[in-house]
Each structure stands twice: as C-alpha cells, then as structure tokens.
Subunit: 359 residues, 2 copies
DNA sequence: TGAATTTCCGTGTCCGCACACGACACGAAA
DNA sequence: TTTCGTGTCGTGTGCGGACACGGAAATTCA
C-alpha cells in the first residue's frame, strides 16, 4: 500500500512548490495567512508526492503541552479497574514524549456524590481532554455537557451514553457477551436442567452492562427455544453479607435438585465460586466476567469453567491514543469501538494474561 | 510507578555532573573514550535522577539506517500469511521514522529449494535483522547458523527451532491449542459418538504446528478417559483433489452412522466445511484453526462452530518492535512469547476482527 | 501622494539528541 | 627542545518540524 515512502521533508516540498518553508508550514497547518496562489501550489505538490510529516520531530519541536484527565472508580489490587489504570499508565508512558501528561482521578462507584465532586474538581482547572467511565448516567451527562460547552473533548470507556457528544467509545457489546455466555453455558444441557442466575442488589440504578448481558443471555434462551427445556432459577445476592448469601444458596439447593450451571453478570463470580466450593457443589458449570485475580484463581482451579474478558487496559490505552490522534496528530479515528469478547478457560488464560501484560 | 518523570535532558545531566554534554553522551552509549572519573560522576548523577532518553529525539538525530528483512510463505488474498504480511506492514509504517526499513521476501512453503534460494539472496546483501517463519527445519538452521556467524540478529514467528540462537519467538503453544480444541469439541459428547479427524497429506516433512495440535488433542482424550466412550475416525485428505476428498468422506459416512464432530489441525477447515455442506451433513460440531476469509464465512454461517486464532499480525508486529527495542532502544525484551489462544464463534468474530484491524 | 494598515512571507531559533571534528594535555621518542 | 602519538574532552552542526519575529508588498485611509 504505502509504497512511495520517500523521505520527504518540508524543505523539499518548499523547493518543489517554489515557496518558503514557512509557507509550507502554514498550508500544512491550515493557517489563514497564505495567498490562494501559494496555497494551491503547495497543496498540489503535497498530494502529488503524498507527504506525511514526521510526527516524532513534530512533537519534539512543539512546546504545546496537553493535560488529559481520566475519571473512573477506585479499586483494590486485583480488581477490574486496576487493569484500566494500567492501561492509562502505559499510555502515559508512551505519549509523554509527545507532551501529553495524564492525571488519574477516582470516585466511589457506589456513591454518586463522589463522582460529582471529582468531576467538579476537574472542571476547576480545565484539562485538554477527559476520559470518563460513565457509571452514573445523569451525573455524567451533566459533566459532559459542561465539557462540551467549554469545548473540551471527552471519551467514554467501559460503557457509553449515546446522548453525549463523545469523541470515542471503547467497550464491549454486553448484549452479545451475554448471548455468548449463554451459548457456552447452556450448550448440550440435558433436559430439565436448572440454571442459577445470580444478581446482586445494588443501591441506586443498576449497571447498564450487567443488565444488557442479562438481556443477551435471555435472548439466547429464547432463540434456541430452551425456555421449556431448562429452568432458570433467579437468585438475589446481597452485596456485602456473604453469610446471608450462603444461606440463600443452601436454601436454593435444598429445593432444587437438578442445578447444572450458574452465572453472574457482574464481575464477582469468584464469590459464587467460593460459596459453591463451601457447599461442595462442585459439579456445576460456572461462567463469569472479567479477569479479577480471584476469578482467575478459580478458573485455574477448575471451579469456574469460563471467564469472559474485555481488555480493560486496551480500552484505556486506545482511548488515549485516539485522543492524541485527534488533538495532536490530526488523524482519522473511529467513534464506536467494540472490544473483542474474549473467552478464557483454564487452558488459555495463562498465555492470554502474559501477552496482555507485555502489551 | 514511574513517578519522577521530570523532563531531564542531557544538558542538565552535564551541568549536574560537571562535565560536557559530549561526555554524558559517551557514558550513555558506553563509548570507551571517557576517563574513569568522568564516567563515575556521570553515572552517579544518571541513576540519582533516573534519566530516560527521549527516544524520539534520538532517532531523529541518528543517521544510522536499519534494514530488516522478513522471510515467510507466499499467500493469496484471504489466506493465513496475508495477516502476517499486514503486521509487518504496520510495523514498517510505525518504525520508519526510527530509520528502520522493512523488506519482505516470500518463498513457496511446499518447495524447500525456494526457501534456500531466497535465504541466499538475503545473505547476499546483509541486512541488520531477519524475521523467519521456520517452515523447513534443516534449511532454516543452515540459514540462521550463517546469520549467527555474521552477527545478524534474527527472530522466529509462527514456530520455533530451539537449537537456533534466535532473539525472540512469537507463536502459539500448539499443544495447548490442540488440547483446547478437544475440550471445545468434545464437551458433553454422547456415549459412542464418532469424531472425524482430518489430516492432509503433505509432501516432505509435516508441519510442526499441526502435529503438536494433534498431540494436544489426543492428550485431552486421554486425560479425560474418553478413549472408550468416543471413537476417533482418522481420515486422510488429498491436498489438491477435492473430488477425491468428497468421495472419501462419502465413504466414511456410509460406514459410520454416529459422526457427531470433526476437526482439522491445519487452517483449511473451510474445505471440510464445504464438503460437509455438499453432503448435507449439517449436524456436525466443527472446529478449525485460523481466520482465513473462507473459514470466517463458514463460521458466520454456523457451519463451523469454533475457530481458534493466533493473532498472526501481532506476531509479526511485535517481532519487529522487539528487534527495535534490542538494536535501537536497548530495552529489555522477552525471548519466548506465546500468543493467546483466541476462541472465536459466530457471535464474537465480528468485534474481534474489527478490533484487530484497527490494531 | 504619503502615511498607516493589512496581508503575505522568509529567516532564525529551538526541541533533545548523536556524532564528527578538533582542541588540549600529557608523556614518550627524536 | 621539538615532534608526535594517545587519551580526554568540548563545541558545533544537523535531524524534521513549529513558531515567533520582523520585513516587504499590497491595500486602505487621510
């Protein structure tokens, strides 16, 4: 494709077009103060030999600094958002020489007000771009509306809010990933099998992601006409009381004798795994989401059969990269970016994690 | 982690160490002509404030050119090696401003002599680095031995030859991927099911990859004690005569009435899919390797149930990146790199391909 | 018509680094 | 003492591009 990669410098362009280097510069950057004649001459030369500027040299020379701010939930070691954090760090490292500096801000994903506070802080000293994990829809919309008003670009990761005027979105198609989960979990299930579907009570509005996954899951059952061949057993977990959950489960098992599979739509499948282990209910096909350390542990032990992953680090990294392409390099970018629905099992988790780590 | 990323330039180091910039440069590049005293002073300052050079500026200033040559099989559109090719192209684009220029050389993977010829060509005008897909073991060893003798670094992609002194290897753990294929294919197979295992006659030595996959596949059967619950039906295909293969299959089906699944260990599962379709044998669980256009087509149609992929473009790209890290940036690299064993189904193939395309 | 603007454009400097060149000191050989 | 290495080191220039500055030409205004 890119065949004529002769090393073309501005100097050469200037000679060919019969103007000065300064003029070429003006045309390249679409500055106003160029006569129509000069502009035309340069443009012509420019796309005859399709010139691409040396981005390295460009950033070297440019003294413009960029401040990017990320805002997403706090986390503890081994949790989901830690991987996102790593992705931002990697981007920070990669793009620091292009004069972009990344700040990370965290909020409590169970506390709306904490998001509002942090987002206000961000608005105080205006950054050049913002990356948001839109956990709270309304509050995020308030925030992004203000950003738009001030002409600050922003991108979504993890999930999106369609009404907002975001630059890019990186995240998984959760409906599809729920559909796939069903397919993996329910393939060749015997007649009459009972399937445990765990949901966690959450204060405030439930997460979009888990809801869509659940819809996808149900859609599969409907598509394949499984609703009268298997039985879905809905269970509601408490978010903090593990003993209560154990009791709930015990009770369920005492009244359901043919439970063959189980799923959770959030990333906390390790809790279910742990409870099932405690109950010695080991012969249950189990599937969950995201590579939390604990999840991976149970996957490797064979308690969890499948984990579905969504490359959180890449979501962060590519968001930053695309923002640079937009603001600095002026390259084409794509708005909606679905990350792959990665299927992990005991046997392929190791290589997968090693490879991601190393980018 | 990388907290103290103050913008430190050579100039600053020089001042702090009380020497000239030239001297700092000599220390940084381990040149000989520095007095022990100066060297020590600079070194001390250097690791007090841990300095990291601006790689952009470095490449900009350096006039050294690097010529990298890749040698791998020819391909037609939509085939496996095309993706590898794309990966090299992307790397070429990315690293051209670091003064590396990539040449691609192709050989006929069914003709040993063509490999020998091309590798000799490469030796004629010595490149700075070589990337090899070691299809022919002995001939590759001859080649790499000569490269080693001339101190030309080389890397393997796709498969490796342990005896050679390669810089990096990117490829899939084929044994594991065979194991996984078995797991996906044979999960919950009914008693007495017959499983079709297709192998293709190949002139010369068979491919390492397909052989290891087959071993992994069999290992799963052994591990799970399936050998007396299911029956493996081995079938040998011709590489070119599709009519003959059709006849073979027809014959097999006439003598085996309980065929439930089928697999090929090379990337040509689309041929099997096509034959099965022709024979109206549609209710067979089918799995294969690699995202050839044709394979993807059958996957999307639901004829193929699973495809196992191995990110060929990333193998190529990262090989080049690591070579740059070694020769130019002097960074740490890892020798053996297993790429993930990606599991693709009808429902996740689309996002997967879109995402890879966009890197 | 001369002065004041406005429009257009060329030059010079710097970004952080690599490298060639030449300067300088010192000691040994002539 | 002169001459000539040898071992150290400082300076200058350039990589490709961004941008400020100021000058010249074109235009407007008095």
């Amino acid at each position: 494709m890119a065949e004529n990669n002769q090393k073309l410098r501005i100097k050469d362009i200037a000679v060919l077009a019969g103007v000065s280097e300064g003029t070429v510069d003006r045309v390249l950057h679409n500055r106003g103060d160029v006569s129509a004649k000069s502009r035309e001459a340069v443009t012509k030369v420019l796309d005859e030999m399709n010139y691409s500027p040396n981005l390295l040299a460009r950033s070297l020379a440019s003294k413009k600094q960029y401040r990017f701010v990320c805002i997403f939930p706090t986390f503890q070691s081994g949790e989901y958002w830690e991987t996102v954090d790593k992705g931002f760090d990697l981007a920070a490292q990669e793009f620091q020489h292009h004069n972009v500096f990344i700040e990370k801000k965290y909020f409590n994903q169970y506390d709306t007000q904490s998001f509002v506070n942090v987002s206000n802080e961000i608005l105080q000293n205006e950054p050049d771009a913002v990356f948001v994990a839109p956990v709270f829809k309304n509050e995020t919309l308030d925030f992004t509306a203000e950003l738009s008003k001030r002409h600050i670009s922003f991108s979504f990761i993890d999930s999106q809010i369609e009404e907002a005027n975001f630059l890019t979105y990186y995240g998984q198609n959760s409906f599809k990933s729920g559909y796939i989960a069903a397919k993996l979990l329910l393939a060749l299930m015997p007649e009459g099998a009972q399937i445990l579907v765990i949901r966690t009570k959450r204060k405030g509005s439930g997460s979009n992601q888990t809801f869509s996954r659940s819809k996808g899951f149900m859609q599969f059952i409907q598509d394949k006409g499984l609703s009268n061949r298997i039985e879905i057993v809905n269970v509601e977990f408490s978010n903090d009381d593990e003993l209560e959950n154990l009791a709930t489960l015990k009770q369920i098992f005492s009244t359901h004798s043919n439970i063959k599979a189980a799923i959770t739509f959030n990333s906390k499948v390790y809790r279910l795994a742990s409870l099932l282990e405690a109950l010695k209910e080991t012969n249950i096909r189990l599937i969950g989401y995201d590579l939390l350390d604990e999840n991976v542990k149970y996957l490797q032990q064979g308690v969890i059969n499948f984990l579905i992953a969504q490359r959180p680090d890449k979501q962060a990294y590519f968001s930053v990269r695309d923002m640079c392409r937009e603001l600095i390099f002026r390259q084409e970018i794509k708005k909606i970016n679905y990350v792959p629905i990665d299927i992990l099992m005991k046997e392929n988790i190791e290589d997968y994690m090693q490879f991601s780590e190393y980018i």
